[in-house]
């Protein structure tokens, strides 16, 4: 009996930890993003702004996955920041991340006023996505356009 209970609780534990592991899309404010970059152990950050409803964004996501995987050893961190509505986190964003098996860190932007957060990312940003912020030490470069892998690699190498 005791054994059975133990087994059940172990299974339950497993179930919840798997669930927790899969729901790896965290809400992130701009302040938290800045903290993540400031306190992170990597030296280069490529922050891509995307959304599940944005076709050109989805098209270029594999390039960011490839860049992240290939240059991990150079202390590169690719952060994928979704601009989907918060209400779509469980219904759209998490299932999308699972389906595409994304390996980069994925976040959902936890800000309500684009009028404010757009300028805080970069004053030159119209708000259109895809858009990507490159950060290396004190250098910041913001690019508001879609990338091929070659273009993305070129931007990364230029940093």
């Amino acid at each position: 009996m005791k054994n059975k209970l133990l087994k059940i609780s172990f299974l339950l534990f497993l179930l919840f930890s798997i669930k927790g592991y899969n729901q790896n899309v965290k809400l992130l404010t701009i302040n938290q993003l800045n903290e993540r970059i400031k306190n992170g152990k990597d030296s280069t950050y490529v922050v891509n702004f995307w959304a599940t409803w944005c076709a050109p964004c989805i098209k270029e996501l594999p390039h960011f996955e490839k860049l992240g995987a290939e240059y991990k050893s150079e202390k590169l961190a690719v952060l994928l920041v979704s601009l989907d509505f918060k209400s779509k986190l469980a219904s759209n964003v998490i299932p999308f991340v699972k389906r595409k098996n994304l390996k980069n860190e994925v976040f959902l932007l936890n800000e309500s006023s684009p009028q404010e957060f757009i300028d805080r990312i970069d004053p030159s940003w119209s708000g259109s996505i895809p858009a990507t912020l490159f950060i290396k030490n004190d250098k910041r470069k913001f690019v508001e356009s879609e990338f091929t892998y070659e273009q993305l690699l070129t931007e990364y190498k230029k940093l």
Binding site: W53, C54, K86, S112, S113, P114, Q115, E116, S128
Partner: protein, 204 residues
């Protein structure tokens, strides 16, 4: 002579390919009139609203999550302000070939389904979209009727809360109309338009 024709042709094609870089109108600019087909198959222009003091022109569509998120707020704007002289005129800026859920038939379905109390116009060739320089859905232009003609008073977003769950949201559009009604110029005449990019045919 041949050179001139070539230059003209070049200039013209440059003009065409730059259509999507069309300059967005801003406060103080003249608001161009239009004559576009509504979902009820009747043409609509500024003149369709004889008693209007101005117009709330909203470029919006069937498909974009932001347009869908703002749909009820657009319906509410018309409900609140049409009787005060500021009717909503919605125009779909998307090319139906580039966005196949934005065809005229699908626009008719949506307007009927949601009982739109305002016109929802189809813009063939995205001509009016480019005259206004509309870039997103939704993208609003508030226009007032003056002695000098129709003038743009405000361009940008409806409010600062696309997802619609901030009770302290700044309602830009409502504030603009409140100012206009009291005979004043709006304090804020421009905000960033937030939404999906206007859909266009892929370039050859």
């Amino acid at each position: 002579m041949k050179k001139i024709i070539l230059l003209l042709a070049l200039a013209f094609s440059a003009f065409l390919s730059h259509a999507q870089n069309a300059v967005t109108l801003k406060a103080g600019d003249a608001a161009p009139d239009f004559k576009l087909k509504n979902v009820d198959n009747k043409d609509v222009s500024f003149g369709s609203f004889k008693d209007a003091k101005g117009y709330i022109i909203v470029f919006t569509c069937n498909t974009c999550p932001y347009a869908i998120g703002y749909e009820q707020r657009i319906i509410d704007l018309d409900k609140k302000f049409k009787s005060q002289g500021y009717p909503v005129i919605a125009i779909n800026p998307n090319d139906p070939e580039a966005s196949n859920a934005d065809t005229f038939a699908k626009m008719q379905d949506l307007a009927k389904d949601k009982k739109y109390s305002f016109p929802y116009l189809f813009d063939p060739g995205q001509k009016i979209t480019d005259e206004y320089g509309a870039k997103r859905t939704p993208h609003i232009f508030i226009v007032s009727k003056t002695a000098k003609g129709n003038v743009v008073e405000y361009v940008g977003a409806i409010d600062n809360d696309p997802e619609g769950n901030n009770p302290q949201k700044i309602k830009y559009a409502e504030d603009v109309i409140a100012s206009l009604k009291s005979g004043q110029k709006p304090a804020i005449t421009q905000t960033k338009e937030i939404g999906c990019t206007v859909k266009r045919k892929a370039k050859a």
